[in-house]
Each structure stands twice: as C-alpha cells, then as structure tokens.
C-alpha cells in the first residue's frame, strides 16, 4: 500500500513538472533540497531529493531518492555535487546559445537558502511542502525566463489545471499497472494545459476552481509526516 508520504512527494514533484510542461519551451534544470535537520529527525528513513535535470525539452524529469546512511545518518553526497555542477554550468554557459538554467527549491526556515545563495549568488525559491507553494514558486521563476508561452500562464491558471493533470495521470497510472511512462505524464499534461477564454472556458474554469479547493485541502500536507 502506497503511503501518504509517497503520495505527497509524488504530488509535489508532479506540480513542478506540470508547471514546466505547461509553460516552458526549452531546456531546464531544476533542483530541490531537503533540510539536513529533517534527516536527523527521521533516522533511517528515505528522504526525497528532487534532482530534475533536463538536457533538452524532451528529457524526463528524474526523482532521485537518497537514504541517510551510517551511524550519523549522513546524506549521500550526490546533492552537493549536483548542485555544484548546476552552478558551474550556469556560469560556464552564460551568454552562450545553450544557457543552463536551474531553480533550487528549498523548504522554508532552513539554512539552505543562505548556503545556496552564498555558493552561487542565486536566491533559491522557498516552499512549504505543498503543491500550491511549488506551483507559486516555479511559475514565478518561469515568468521571468525566456522561451515560455506568451503570455505565460499565471500560477493561478496552473493551480486550477493541476487537479485535471493529477486525475489524468492517476487514470493512466492505473492503466499502466503503476508503471506509467514519461509519455503518460506528457499525455496527462497535454489534456490539462489551461485554455481559459470565452464562456465555455469560464464554466470549465469554475469547475477547476472547485477542484483546486480540493487540492488545497488534500495537498497541504507537511512533506514530513
């Protein structure tokens, strides 16, 4: 039986993916860290690390998972390494025709914000472990990037469409016997891209508003429970 924890992690990951699929037209690297303090609070428990590296628009996001190891429950060192790579690529490819853009999403209230900012001169986005906060942050970042839809959908547009994406993906997951592919994610997103104008769309929009209220209730679950 899938735990609530996993469902929450999956929803949060998917919210970032959905934002990107709806808005973005070119490459993207995104990264999220989990607080070290939380590792200590949850010994020997899996903790999720979002490491989403996209070499080009068609490469799937990847959710890598690490486990605290040893007596001190230390994290594997892949995250600092990958963060360093992202920061280095960003400067190396600055002003090139293949810029390396990435977004660090860090939880509210931890020292990572200072750490990442000091490391790369970059202000990471903050989230509180909810779908709405991820969508708010990712869409705010996307709104300042090139190669996005013109005009770029607002965070509200995306949040209203997210329940549709989630439901589509859940159906495709069942059809695929829990082994959904990247094609399924794309297919679910394609059916959920917000198209809001005209009377008919307004009616759809109202329905989505109701559904998004459901998101607020069900997804506002702490990442660590």
């Amino acid at each position: 039986m899938r735990s609530r924890f996993l469902l929450t992690v999956r929803s949060i990951r998917n919210s970032g993916i959905f934002c990107w699929l709806v808005c973005f037209r070119s490459s993207l690297t995104a990264l999220s860290l989990e607080p070290r303090e939380k590792q200590r609070e949850t010994p020997n428990r899996d903790f999720p690390v979002f490491w989403q590296q996209l070499g080009h628009a068609n490469t799937p996001f990847d959710l890598s998972r690490s486990r605290g190891e040893g007596d001190e429950n230390l994290a594997r060192l892949n995250m600092p390494l990958e963060l360093g790579m992202a920061a280095a690529f960003r400067f190396e490819r600055e002003n090139s025709d293949r810029p390396h853009r990435w977004l660090a999403l860090v939880p509210e209230g931890y020292a990572y914000q200072t750490f990442v900012s000091d490391l790369a001169g970059f202000d990471p986005a903050r989230h509180d472990g909810t779908v709405s906060s991820i969508i708010r942050e990712v869409s705010a970042w996307l709104g300042t990037q090139d190669d996005v839809l013109d005009p770029v959908p607002s965070a509200k547009n995306i949040l209203q469409s997210f329940p549709s994406f989630r439901n589509e993906l859940a159906n495709l997951r069942i059809e695929a016997l829990e082994k959904e592919t990247w094609a399924d994610v794309l297919l679910a997103a394609s059916k959920s891209v917000p198209v809001l104008s005209g009377r008919a769309d307004l009616e759809v929009s109202n329905r989505w508003v109701l559904m998004s209220a459901d998101v607020w209730q069900t997804e506002s679950v702490p990442l660590w429970i």
């Binding site: 300042t144 005009p151 297919l187 198209v195």
Partner: protein, 173 residues
Amino acid sequence: MRVFISFAHDDANLASRLEAGLRSNNIDTWSALDIAPGEDWTQAIDKKGASADGYVFLLGAGASENPQLRAEWRSLLRNDWESKKPLIPVIVEHGGVPHDLPPFLRNRRAILTTNFDDAIREVRYLIEHPSETMDHAHELQSKSEWVKRRNELMDYALSLKQEDVGDGEAKTH
C-alpha cells in the same frame, strides 16, 4: 493605494522622479530607495511587495538580464500569484529600449517615458483602473498559443507511446 516601483540601479534617478510624481498625486509608493541602511534587502522587498496594491516596472535596455531585478520580479510575482494586482511596465528610453518585455509583462499595456508628465498620468490612470492594464489584443493571442502548446505535448506523447509499443514488440520477438 500603495504602489511598489521596481527598477534597475541605472534607473534610480528616474525611479526617484516617478516616486515624487506619484506621491504628489496622492499615491503612496515604495521602492528599493526606501530601504534603510542595514535592512535585509530580500525581506524588505518581500514584505513591501506583499502589502502593495500594484507594481510599476521601470524597464531599460538589459533589464531582463539583470539578475537582481529578476530576483525582485520573482518576489513580486510570488506575492501576486493570483494575478489580482495591476502590473504596469514603464519602458525607459535611454540608450535603446528593451527589445522585448519579460514574459510576465507581455500581456500588459506598456507606458513610454517620452513625456514624463504624460507617463505619470498614465500610471495613475492604470493604477486606478486595474482592468485597463491588460493588453486585450495580446490576451486573445494566448488562446491560440496555449492550444498550440497542448497539441505539441499531445503529439509528442503519442509519438513516444508509439515508440514504446515498437520497443515492446521488438523485445517480444
């Protein structure tokens, strides 16, 4: 009514004039010029952005490539995630205009600073009439763009599905 003015360092003088012009029109303003020495920049922007009723963006050449300005925009967009506040781009014409507005402002009516007094009047009008800040012609374009994006995604998904089926059949044989 309180307005947040976002500007790059090079446009500080113009921002100061704009603040003075709006304040003389009974519009309360706040900008990075009002940050006290030693005050945390990020926190101040976040807090004042949240309490503002609308945002004015001074945009000169190269504004979109300015990382500090981008960080400020992100903070403001985060505080207006429901898209309820008027966003007003003001294009600063010194040494060339920006070749394109940042994506989140492309569906907004832009104001040129050719005549400063006119610009002040226009900003004031748009602040008082938020619905007028939208560029409706550009908004209409969104429908076709978003439909196009939806079709792109679906076509690609279906082509991947086809490849998956092909791979599966190849393994079976």
